[in-house]
């Protein structure tokens, strides 16, 4: 697993994209528009998530001065 936070967020985008692709393909198989609607929802959700995630990333960087996600691991035990 990569330790860089940016890569984590990027990977999340890839996963969401993949899920959306599956939905669209399913919708196309039966010729209905529902798949595309699902993809729209996923897209909107990804957008919101990215904005909040990047804001958090900035705060993280501000606090720890690095992009290592293992730096914030005090909530253990």
């Amino acid at each position: 697993m990569r330790r860089n936070v940016i890569f984590t967020l990027m990977s999340i985008e890839v996963m969401l994209n993949a899920a959306g692709l599956a939905f669209v393909a399913a919708g196309a198989r039966w010729g209905q528009a529902d798949g595309q609607v699902m993809f729209l929802f996923i897209l909107a959700m990804a957008a919101a998530e990215v904005s909040v995630g990047l804001a958090l990333l900035l705060r993280l960087y501000h606090l720890f001065k690095s992009l290592d996600i293992d730096a914030a691991s005090t909530m253990r035990g």
């Binding site: 293992d70 914030a72 691991s73 909530m75 253990r76 035990g77």
Partner: protein, 619 residues
Amino acid sequence: MLQLLWLIPAIPFASTLVLALFGRRMSQRMVAIAGVGSVGLSALISLAIVPASLASGTPFTQVLWTWIDVAGFRPEIAFYLDPVSLLMVVVVTFVSFLIHLYSAEFMEDDEGYARFFAYMNLFVASMVVLVLADNLLLLYLGWEGVGLCSYLLIGFWYKDPVNGLAARKAFIVTRAGDTAMIVGLFILFHTLGTLQIQDLMHLATVHWAVGSPYATAAAALLLGGAVGKSAQLPLQTWLPDAMAGPTPTSALIHAATMVTAGVYLIARTHVLFTLAPDVQFAVAVIGAATLLLAGCSALTQSDIKRILAYSTVSQIGYMFLALGVGSWAAAMFHFMTHAFFKALLFLASGVVIEALHHEHNIFRMGGLRKELPIAFWTFLIGGCSLAGLPLVTAGYFSKDFILWGAWTSPQGNPAFWIVGVIGVLLTGLYTFRLIFVVFFGASRTPVTHRPHYRIIVPVILLATLSIVGGWFKRSLVTFLNSALPPLSEVHVSRLSETLSSIFAGLAFLLGLGLAYLFFLGRPEYAESLMRGGFMRRLHAFWLADWGFDWLYDRTLVRPFIWIATLNRRDVVDNAFTAVARWHQAAYYALSRTESGRLRWYAAAIGAGAVVFIGVILFT
């Protein structure tokens, strides 16, 4: 008047409660009044009951309440008064009263004054319950109560660990006997359905034939209990060490009363023993062996109280011998005289110990005849009674009666008689050895403390009783024979009663003479005798109580301690804590998964997703 019977145990018990709860706040005078007065009241009541009981002529039962009522098992708190228990109650309360009066002065300087009287009163209450008990369960209650008080009082000076060890030894050894006894009670209840003594005796004769295995088993187990409590072979090892307690305790518990509880038990359940002649024979054998063994051991001791302790063991051996040959009244009679003179001997020895400032070794005493005249004369009277000075002392009459029974009774045996006579010789020897060494010769330790009236009066009273107690033999025996089977005089051929008495008297004189020779007249004979290797080893062997302590240590104590150290980490306990520890381990393992690292969580989610998909697809 007979209705007051329940007060006899109740008053000392109430006094115990008062002293236990408020003793710290009461002045010493108040404590003495409460402690001595309660037992005094009991003694008065028991004396007052005597005429009423004699007048009624039948046994009297007083039921207080039902203790347990479960599935047909219905023991009650009930007291039973017949000649045997009346005799025991009177002797116990009266001697207890005198000893309490003595200890009011004797224990004056002790800080545990109130505690002492609380324990002693509890003891008197328990002993009276034991004696008056109508059923075996209540008797066992009293039995345990006196055992507890014995433990508490032996370890009275608890700050010295040696006393605690002695107390534990006494408790554990008597426990062995008590366990046998309770198993015997189980057998009796299981086979006959009741524990009420009179009913038991009646049912036993109805259901069991002579020699029945049930009777034999029950009697043998009850004998086990009696042997434990009365310090007979093989459980006699605790009594000499019990002398660690205060002298009044030794006088009351380990001379006059508690140790005779075993004798009382056998006398009470005599029907069982007559139904099991093998066990009765065993009783006699145990008595005979013990009296010889203890007599030999007493000859070698140098601690004044230990000599008297072994003497007690030996005299109870006489009582057991009497019970074993079927001379029940003789055993009770000897109990009475023994209570008098043994308590007297202990109390007088207490005077000597106190006067010489806690000196126990007789070879460091000497020449006290002039310094402590009262102690000397009372000790002399007690010693003569113990050894059996013919015709004058009570001890002579009772011991003589036993010897006669050992010869003539159908279960009697010339061998028993011979052993008894040898015992008389030994008794005289060690008693006069004690008297000569302590009271004659040169003074080795100066006298620092002299007794006052509270000590003097009881010892003089007991001395008087040690003399006159024997003059009531005939009426006492008739009295007892209304409750116990009389002695049937069978083997009268070669020996008559007079001849037996003459032999006993001769043995006494021989003992006295030998003691005089070795310890007063020509001590150099004793020293030359002791120079031989065999004699020295014999002396050491007898001093160590015929090696019983060594034997028990090797066979019982050490293996037990070895097993206990093997189980140091307590296997059973570990089985339970293993549950807790397993939980803790699981907790630690699980808390390790909460590492706080995001990558770990993401990986866990991914792996979980793979597993779930796999499960859905492939099952």
